[in-house]
């Protein structure tokens, strides 16, 4: 479904110019891939390149055999890629309902919008509220997830979905991912969470912009856990 061929991303200045260094990988349709690695390893940049938010300085992004490397975010979205931001965005003037309508690509009934909210543990009371800083970080995160679910995209990228949901049951998040997986969505998740890594089909470990290792969850996860606990 998705293939990254020799993707690099460099920035001028800074402590390390090369954020991503010759990354090649394939994401199969209906697969659940977790990308993990230490902070600064290039995980979020990789996700942003797949979404079209950043354009790689080298290499190609191929979606369903089409080279989409130079296409912008809108084009990536219209080709069926959705993206959940690590830091949700606030909007003065836009309500939760507005955002869900935009995400759906059409005017949806309030009842349908409420269903998206319920899936992330929010009630209908949120629908008419403006997406501003009066929401807690956890609430914003859930609204962000609801907007992504409303996309019904073929490929969904989640950038650290666990961040900021401390007030909400983590179980619900896991349930959402399991449901998406069962419904044959293709999922890429940037995560440090073992519970999320555990349900992935494949784990890719990045380090200093390179793929350190990759493989099935069963193969990779024990090593990751071992390194975290200093037993390896």
């Amino acid at each position: 479904m998705l293939e990254l061929k020799d993707v690099s991303y460099e920035v001028k200045g800074g402590s390390r110019a090369k954020i991503l260094d010759h990354i090649s990988l394939k994401i199969k349709p209906n697969s659940f891939t977790a990308i993990t690695g230490p902070n600064g390893s290039g995980k979020s940049t990789l996700a942003e390149i797949i979404m079209g938010i950043k354009v790689p300085t080298n290499g190609q992004v191929i979606l369903n055999k089409e080279d989409i490397t130079k296409q912008n975010v809108t084009a990536h979205a219209k080709k069926g890629i959705a993206y959940s931001f690590q830091q949700p965005v606030t909007f003065k003037g836009l309500t939760v309902y507005d955002l869900l309508n935009i995400a759906s690509g059409e005017l949806i009934a309030p009842e349908e919008a409420i269903q998206y909210l319920k899936r992330v543990g929010l009630t209908s009371n949120y629908l008419s509220r403006e997406i501003n800083n009066k929401f807690s970080g956890g609430e914003l995160k859930r609204i962000e997830l609801a907007s992504v679910l409303a996309r019904h995209a073929k490929l969904i990228i989640f950038d650290e979905p666990e961040a900021g949901i401390d007030l909400w049951s983590f179980e619900n998040l896991i349930r959402i991912f399991k449901k998406l997986k069962s419904k044959n969505y293709t999922i890429i998740i940037i995560s440090h969470q073992e519970r999320i890594l555990k349900i992935a089909d494949e784990i890719i470990v990045l380090e200093e912009g390179r793929i350190k290792t990759k493989g099935t969850s069963a193969k990779i996860l024990p090593t990751i856990i071992g390194e975290r606990h200093g037993t390896e």
């Binding site: 975010v73 979205a77 959705a82 965005v89 003037g93 955002l99």
Partner: protein, 307 residues
């Protein structure tokens, strides 16, 4: 009532009027009243000695509306209009004003509307004023509204003031004096573009005990337009006042926000907020990840902001 296509368009835009409304009204076109109606509870009278109206709303009137839209389609017309509203005690009324200018010529068209509200005890008014301008002429479309609100004990005024594009120059001055337990809520929405200029001046005096004022201004300045927002809330008693000016600045526009608080007693609780900034790139990116183009995303953000 014979109206041109442009005049009809103005009445639709500024007052959502597609037909003669229920209740009291006065339609002013090119300096003259072209339709006027009083009702049992609302008297609409032409001022005897100067241009404008005296509108009397009887004590205890409930849930009635008054429409007083103004249309100017004659290039070069300059007028000053005085409208006085006398709202009886315990009355509840909505007043829909608004002014539109269609200018197809090269001379400036100007409407200066001076509205004075004398709001009785326990009365409640909602005042909606929209400005709208269009036309191919090079002549300016200029509106300078003055709104003076005098609120008696326990009364309440809600002002919704909107000017979205089309008007070349505006100086809006709004003043209010509040007695005990009186409240005023002002919502301003403004968008300027091209070379337009807009200045909003608010001077609110919280004289009465437990009086309340809230000013919420949101504006968008595009191209090389210029905006000035000045809001002064004076607290002379135990009272609460809040003003917020939020502006999105684009292109080479300029926005100046000058909020001021003037507490004359330690019991006055006064707050002001002012924020000016461009549209955040993360906002555009988020909406683009949902399938909107950059322009569509910008439009959604602006329209939502000014709602």
């Amino acid at each position: 009532m014979e109206l041109s296509k442009e005049e009809k368009q103005i009445f639709c835009e500024v007052a959502d009027l597609f037909e003669i409304p229920e209740g009291a009204y006065n339609f002013r076109v090119n300096g003259k009243s072209v339709g006027k109606r009083s009702t049992t509870n609302i008297d609409v009278e032409t001022k005897p000695n100067k241009s404008g109206l005296d509108i009397y709303i009887k004590k205890g009137t409930k849930n009635e509306q008054v429409h007083i839209p103004v249309a100017i389609s004659a290039t070069g017309l300059k007028e000053v209009v005085y409208n006085d509203f006398y709202i009886g005690d315990d009355a509840e009324v909505t007043i829909i004003a608004g002014c539109g200018i269609y200018n197809c010529g090269n001379q400036d068209s100007v409407h200066d509307g001076i509205h004075r509200f004398h709001v009785g005890k326990n009365a409640k008014i909602k005042y909606i004023e929209k400005h709208y301008g269009f036309g191919p002429g090079k002549g300016g479309k200029i509106l300078n509204p003055v709104t003076e609100v005098d609120l008696a004990k326990n009364s309440e005024a809600t002002l919704e003031l909107e000017q979205i594009k089309g008007i070349d120059s505006t100086i809006r001055k709004t003043t209010a004096n509040l007695a005990d337990n009186a409240s005023i809520f002002i919502k301003e929405r403004l968008m300027t573009h091209g070379r337009q200029t807009a200045e909003s001046i608010y001077e609110i005096e919280l004289n009465g005990k437990n009086s309340v004022a809230d000013i919420a201004s949101r504006s968008v300045a595009q191209d090389i337009s210029k905006q000035i927002f000045k809001a002064t809330i004076s607290g002379k008693n135990q009272c609460r006042g809040h003003s917020a000016c939020d502006a999105i600045i684009m292109d080479q526009a300029e926005v100046h926000a000058i909020p001021a608080l003037d507490a004359k007693t330690k019991d006055a609780e006064l707050i002001h907020e002012a924020a000016i900034g461009k549209i955040a790139s993360t906002q555009l990116t988020k909406l683009m990840t949902l399938g909107l183009t950059n322009q569509e995303a910008e439009s959604k953000i602006i329209n939502g902001f000014l709602r």
